[in-house]
Structures are given as structure tokens and as C-alpha cells.
């Protein structure tokens, strides 16, 4: 999947299996990715587990779990709100809201100023989190692995990154390079993405990449929703334009030559 990190990087990963996205004193998020269509190197997210670790006076631990075709509007214990013991109450500041049944859920953890969005688009899940910096940074900095194991902080490990240029992420409007996957050429993929996203959108190149990789149009819609979540949840200054990304560090999206 494409992971947009807390520091603002954008990486395409081939990570398969369960990987932690966030792991701090307050929240733990684990994403499970599976290969997209047999034989492809790309993977997409099929399961998400989010653990709110609880806080004195507010709520005890709550776990939210979603997987393909099962996007519940409640935590795994059936509650929709946080609370202590089996009792739920709104003042706990933890609430699951179903935006679109079976397709879009938002979890507000007001007591830690955090909002999480989970969507199912096509067969796969998308995830977004907005959290105060001090919450995101509330992990044990003394443990060298503490940050390394969080995809949201470090992005993909080098061995798990996909070279999006080699993957044919766009032709820069130069007429295509002949690579296809499914029914898309570079030109038709860009056209399909332009129907949903501005070419300057940070998620435009990920959209093109995904269409070329899979031929599955639902990934274009997923990119559009990811962009929408970022607009709604991300701090304005952290929105990185695709132009800036092209000049970014390793793993940043770049157009083909």
C-alpha cells in the first residue's frame, strides 16, 4: 500500500502480513496486507486492528477490528463508546461513528485528540489517523525498535519499498510507455485518475500507479477517498503537493523520465 507518514513522506510498500502502523502509549494500529491478484508484487490492506489502550477516569481498553467485507460500527466487544468496565458513556471521549454502512467508519478519541478513519473501497481497506504530535510521539524512545516498527513514523523499510518508476507510475503526459496491467495503459490510467483527482493532488500518482499495477478501477476511487481523508484530517501545512514529493527523499513519488 501507499503509506503517508507522520513526517510527510509517501512510500509505496510491498509489505505483506501484519505490520504496525502506530504503536504508542495510547494507540496501537496493526495492518495486514495481502498480495493483490496472484503473482503481483503489490499488496493491499485486508485487515486493520486498532487498539485504544484506555485511560484512567475515561475508558478502559477498546479494540476495533475491520477486515474486507466486515467493517463494523462498533468495537469488538459490541460497544460504540468508551467507558469503564462494561458501562459505556459519552463523556469517555471515545466513539465509533458509522459514516456509510459497511464502507466508512470514523473513530473519535477525543480524550487524546485523535481521529481515525477506516474505509473499504473495492476489496481493500484504507486507513487515516490525525493525532496530536505529543500523542504520536508518546512511545519509548529508548528502545531503538520503538520507532522503526511503526510504518507511520519510518515508512516502509528499504527492502519493502516498491520502485514506483519501475512500476510504471505515470508517463508524465509523454504518451505512455507501452506497459499495461489489466485494461490500463499509462495514458488511460492518468485519464481515469484525472476524473477523480487533480493532477497536483498528492494522491494522483498513487492512483496512476495502482491502476497500472492492478487494472482495478476501485483503486482510483480509493485514492480519491484517501485524498479526501487527508484534506479533512491532515493539518494544512502537512499536505505535500506531488510537485514537492518529486523533489523529496527516497521513496518519494517521482514521474517517469
Amino acid at each position: 500500500p501507499h503509506v503517508r507518514t507522520f513526517p510527510g513522506g509517501m512510500h509505496a510498500c510491498r509489505v505483506a502480513g501484519a505490520w504496525p502502523l502506530v504503536d504508542n502509549e495510547h494507540v496501537h494500529v496493526q495492518a495486514t496486507s495481502v498480495p493483490v491478484y496472484g503473482g503481483a508484487t503489490a499488496t493491499a490492506t485486508s485487515k486493520l486492528t486498532i487498539i485504544f489502550k484506555g485511560q484512567q477516569h475515561c475508558t478502559d481498553e477498546r479494540v476495533y477490528h475491520a477486515e474486507t467485507d466486515d467493517l463494523p460500527a462498533a468495537f469488538v466487544d459490541g460497544t460504540k463508546m468508551g467507558g469503564l468496565g462494561r458501562r459505556q458513556y459519552a463523556a469517555s471521549g471515545l466513539l465509533v461513528t458509522e459514516k456509510v454502512p459497511g464502507r466508512h467508519v470514523e473513530i473519535s478519541a477525543v480524550y487524546i485528540g485523535t481521529t481515525v478513519a477506516v474505509r473499504q473501497v473495492g476489496r481493500y481497506l484504507t486507513f487515516a489517523i490525525r493525532t496530536p504530535a505529543h500523542v504520536a510521539e508518546a512511545y519509548d524512545h529508548d528502545e531503538s525498535l520503538g520507532q522503526a516498527l511503526q510504518l507511520c513514523w519510518r515508512g516502509c523499510p528499504g527492502t519493502e519499498r516498491l520502485d514506483q518508476e519501475a512500476g510504471g507510475a505515470g508517463d508524465g503526459g509523454g504518451g505512455g510507455d507501452g506497459r499495461t496491467a489489466g485494461v490500463f495503459t499509462a495514458r488511460t490510467a492518468r485519464a481515469a485518475c484525472e476524473e477523480r483527482l487533480s493532477v497536483d493532488d498528492p494522491y494522483f500518482e498513487t492512483c496512476v500507479f495502482d491502476l497500472l499495477t492492478t487494472g482495478d478501477l476501485s483503486f482510483a476511487q480509493a485514492a480519491a477517498f484517501a485524498s479526501q481523508d487527508a484534506v479533512e484530517l491532515a493539518p494544512p501545512l502537512a499536505v505535500v503537493s506531488s510537485r514537492e514529493q518529486r523533489g523529496g527523499g527516497p521513496g518519494a513519488l517521482r514521474p517517469s523520465a
Binding site: 501507499h2 471521549g93 477525543v110 487515516a128 489517523i129 490525525r130 496530536p132
Partner: protein, 153 residues
């Protein structure tokens, strides 16, 4: 839930004789659902002048902790917890478990300039350590948020 008992004890502790520093602030009311009531939240007193109030707030806080289980669904209780923390911060009390800030009430009679306020609590002890809903009123500025997303293939 005996939060009203805690409120009464706090009011009694801060309105009796010898509490001039509090009375100078115009009196005290317990923390109600609408938040701190009364003028004690105005301004930032010197640590010494607030020492009796801080002691009363610590006692108030201890009382709420004792009632936390029974009061967990009580709005007045949660408001009181938030209000106490607000008042302790406004009066530079230094936290509910700390030794009295500013060196005690002896400074009330001193003509020396007030010492500088004690250092602020560490940032990590901010909203995440506060009671439920505290961050609603204390959300960090937009630039203090982080965003992460996972999508596509």
C-alpha cells in the same frame, strides 16, 4: 457518588478564617458542570499566595479520586476533575501529587518579591494525562497534529 461532599469540603476549606489569600480573590465556589465558578480563575497569583488554595485543591483532588469509581458516570464529577486541574494550573500548584509549590504559606507575610513560578509540567503531561474530554477545550494548534494514511496497493 459523593462528589457533592467533596465540593462542600473544598468550599469549607477555602472560605474559613485565615484564608486571606483566597478571600482576596473574592471567594471560591466548587467546580460545577459549567466549569470553575467564581473569580479565582482570574489572573495568575504568585505561588506563595496560592499555597493555601493549592492545598485545598489537592485535598479536593484526593477526594474526587476516592469517589472516582462511584462517580464515573457523573457529569458533575468529571467537571470537577477538569476544573480542579484547571485551577491548579492557573495557580501554579504544580500537580496533585507534588509538594506544595512556592514553599508554603510562610511567604504570605513576606515583603520580598514573589519568586518565579515553578516550571511548567512536562509537555507529555498535557492533554493525554487529563481526564476525559479535557482536550476538547485544550486542543493543540493545527500545526501540532500529525497525520498518517494507508491506502491503495
Amino acid at each position: 457518588c459523593r462528589i457533592l461532599k467533596c465540593n462542600s469540603e473544598f468550599v469549607a476549606a477555602t472560605s474559613g478564617p485565615g484564608r486571606s489569600s483566597v478571600e482576596d480573590g473574592g471567594g471560591v465556589a466548587a467546580v460545577g458542570p459549567a466549569g470553575p465558578v467564581g473569580p479565582i480563575g482570574r489572573g495568575r497569583p504568585s505561588p506563595g499566595s496560592a499555597a493555601p488554595l493549592c492545598a485545598a485543591l489537592r485535598a479536593y483532588s484526593a477526594c474526587t479520586r476516592r469517589t472516582s469509581r462511584a462517580c464515573r458516570g457523573d457529569l458533575a464529577y468529571h467537571s470537577a476533575v477538569l476544573g480542579i486541574e484547571d485551577l491548579m494550573a492557573q495557580n501554579a500548584c504544580g500537580g496533585t501529587s507534588a509538594v506544595a509549590a512556592g514553599g508554603g504559606g510562610g511567604r504570605l507575610a513576606s515583603s520580598e518579591p514573589s519568586p518565579p513560578p515553578p516550571p511548567a509540567p512536562p509537555a507529555r503531561a498535557g492533554p493525554v494525562r487529563r481526564a476525559c474530554g479535557a482536550t476538547r477545550a485544550r486542543a493543540p494548534p493545527a500545526g501540532a497534529y500529525r497525520y498518517c494514511g494507508l491506502s491503495g496497493d
